[in-house]
């Protein structure tokens, strides 16, 4: 609801008697029959149910009727707020109730949403009634005071006539204020009781955050794959071609001066070195074999390139999502790099298992232990990447070893 900016006293007066003011009045007027209808339905059905409670059928039918009718009444109330005040009461989150029909009804009957609606429908006739009656009373009071003022004027008592005219004017002006106050109260009650509760709002917020986070992670993953593909199709081929030509130049450089031969040989070695570095870098981004053949194939390549013997066991019967595969690969890759750098281990073991709805990745080494997540960025980076897919990372690394990193990620 946007409020026009009030600047001059005249604007104030105009705003006080504007269409909006009158609509507030209508809002209260419309609230009376609607509120009374809801109140009598609830109280009536409630009373009949209590009286005929021994039949069992009547209270059950009554509850069903109320459960069916309450959302309709809520929708009417929502329409009233939208039509007269321009206030959109946020809709309730749609919920799926689990279980069979009886269980679903029971859960619905026990839900806070339902009882909050009942509370509003019981409160609404009171608010609208008091507001409506208050405005009517104020204005009728104003009219009566006006009449009294005219009466005193007729009697010639000017002081009393002026006094009552003042009172009549004040009452006439107070009407819209009263209406505004009561409608504000009504809006607060409706938003609190008919709109989503704070926990509903938080749940919706969490859900939307979870979705947007998943999108961001998928996008980052897709970006990594795109970079890998671009490098593969571009720079890598060019570099292979360059290294090959230098190789051919080297092979046919026999009749060149020694200095030139040395230079070609150096260039050739450097090109090969660059190729290897680029290959390792690109592989770390997202190995193509991971997309093509899955974790098992990608990890065996990783284990083979490790500088220490790695025993590998992968039992993942069905492929998990590309994002989870990428994170699992990253975990093993980083963990093995850490082992090689810091652990002084003689061997490592990598186990990847699908356990129900979780993918479990365990990297074990027999090194000196004492790994500290706060010491370097490696382990923290791991935990962050695992956390980004709602996974958990546990580190067990006593001084003297051995070290176990276990990661669990939901992958259903």
């Amino acid at each position: 609801m946007s409020v026009a900016e009030v600047t001059t006293p005249w604007d104030r007066v105009r705003a006080h008697w504007s269409a909006r003011s009158w609509l507030r009045m209508f809002h209260l007027v419309a609230g009376v029959p609607l509120g009374v209808l809801a109140l009598s339905l609830i109280l009536g059905v409630g009373a009949v149910s209590v009286i005929f409670v021994w039949t069992l059928g009547v209270p059950v039918a009554g509850s069903l009727l109320l459960m069916w009718v309450l959302p309709l009444l809520t929708r009417l109330q929502r329409l009233r707020f939208a039509a007269y005040l321009g206030v959109e009461i946020p809709p309730l989150p749609r919920r799926r109730w689990e279980g069979n029909i009886a269980m679903r009804l029971l859960r619905r009957a026990r839900s806070a949403t339902l009882w909050r609606q009942v509370a509003y429908h019981l409160l609404s006739p009171l608010i609208s009634g008091v507001g409506f009656a208050g405005v009517i009373a104020t204005w009728s009071g104003g009219l009566v005071m006006g009449a009294v003022a005219v009466h005193f004027w007729g009697l010639g008592d000017r002081w009393l006539a002026a006094l009552f005219t003042l009172v009549a004017g004040a009452l006439a002006v107070a009407g819209p204020w009263l209406a505004q106050g009561v409608t504000s109260l009504d809006v607060i009650a409706a938003e609190a009781l008919l709109g989503p509760s704070i926990s509903d709002q938080l749940a919706a917020r969490v859900e939307s955050l979870r979705e947007s986070r998943a999108e961001v992670i998928d996008a980052a993953d897709a970006e990594r794959r795109r970079i890998e593909r671009d490098l593969h199709d571009g720079a890598q081929q060019r570099l292979v071609s360059l290294a090959m030509k230098l190789g051919m130049a080297r092979a046919t450089s026999g009749d060149l001066p020694q200095a030139a031969r040395d230079m070609i040989a150096q260039a050739h070695e450097e090109a090969k070195h660059a190729l290897k570095e680029l290959r390792d870098l690109v592989r770390g981004l997202h190995p193509a074999v991971l997309s093509d053949e899955g974790l098992d194939a990608a990890l065996s390549g990783l284990a083979a390139r490790a500088s220490l013997p790695v025993r590998l066991r992968v039992e993942v019967p069905e492929r998990v999502s590309p994002t989870i595969e990428a994170v699992a690969f990253f975990v093993v890759s980083e963990a093995l790099a850490n082992v090689a750098k810091h652990a002084g281990a003689s061997a490592a073991e990598v186990t990847v298992l699908r356990e129900g709805e979780f993918l479990r990745v365990v990297v074990f080494d027999d090194g000196r232990g004492g790994a500290d997540p706060d010491a370097g960025t490696g382990l923290r980076g791991l935990a962050q990447r695992v956390g980004s897919v709602d996974g958990t990372l546990r580190l067990d690394s006593p001084q003297g070893g051995p070290t176990t990193i276990s990661v669990e990620m939901p992958c259903a």
């Binding site: 071609s241 051919m248 690109v282 074999v289 083979a304």
Partner: protein, 213 residues
């Protein structure tokens, strides 16, 4: 020697055609995707196929699958598969039918012209050429089997046999005498229980045992 070449990068394809040409090989067709590779072989069966793994349209493992199709169509057709990365999984697929006349090399190896051409000739002659990186990967998973009985040196020798090297080549690589190589090989055959079979066949069997396929 007639060669069909499949490589999607134009730059590298031209370079390879030039290199093979200057080594006295005749490149009868140089194509850019697996479909064209199959067609080119159908038209004129070559003595050797050299193919990239990752090619259009899927940019996945088209070249490898084409190689498998070609091997089924013409048993023993020598094929060298080149790849930006070598993967144990692809090697196992490639070697699952037969190990003779198969090469699987990192693309980087084309930079070492002489060695690369040697590998091509070896495969064309019915030998094998496995990239040392592939062999290293294949080693990882072998546990608790007769291979564990091999000494470190014997293991190295067996790995070089798997790469497709001759006794002379192995002796050069390890800087030992050919006699020593022969002794190691006999020990390997004994430890892998291959003493009975004839000599060349034993070599292949040892490699198969080594590769677990």
């Amino acid at each position: 020697m007639r060669v069909v070449l499949a490589e999607d990068s134009v730059l590298l394809r031209e370079g390879l055609v030039w290199m093979l040409g200057s080594a006295g090989m005749e490149v009868t067709a140089a194509v850019g995707d697996a479909e064209a590779l199959l067609r080119a072989c159908e038209e004129n069966v070559p003595d050797l196929v050299v193919t990239d793994v990752r090619m259009p349209p899927g940019h996945s493992d088209e070249g490898l699958r084409a190689a498998l199709v070609l091997r089924r169509r013409w048993a023993g057709l020598p094929i060298v598969v080149l790849s930006q990365y070598v993967e144990e999984r692809y090697a196992t697929q490639l070697l699952s039918t037969e190990t003779s006349g198969i090469g699987y090399l990192l693309k980087d190896r084309v930079a070492d012209v002489e060695q690369f051409l040697d590998a091509l000739r070896r495969v064309a002659a019915g030998g094998t050429a496995l990239d040392p990186e592939v062999v290293a990967q294949l080693l990882v998973r072998r546990h608790s089997d007769p291979l564990d009985r091999l000494t470190r040196r014997e293991y190295e020798v067996l790995a070089l046999i798997a790469e497709g090297r001759s006794n002379t080549g192995i002796a050069e690589a390890l800087v030992i005498s050919e006699g020593a190589v022969g002794k190691h090989i006999n020990n390997i055959f004994a430890k892998l229980d291959l003493s009975g079979a004839d000599k060349d066949h034993r070599r292949v069997l040892a490699v198969l045992r080594f590769l677990k396929i």
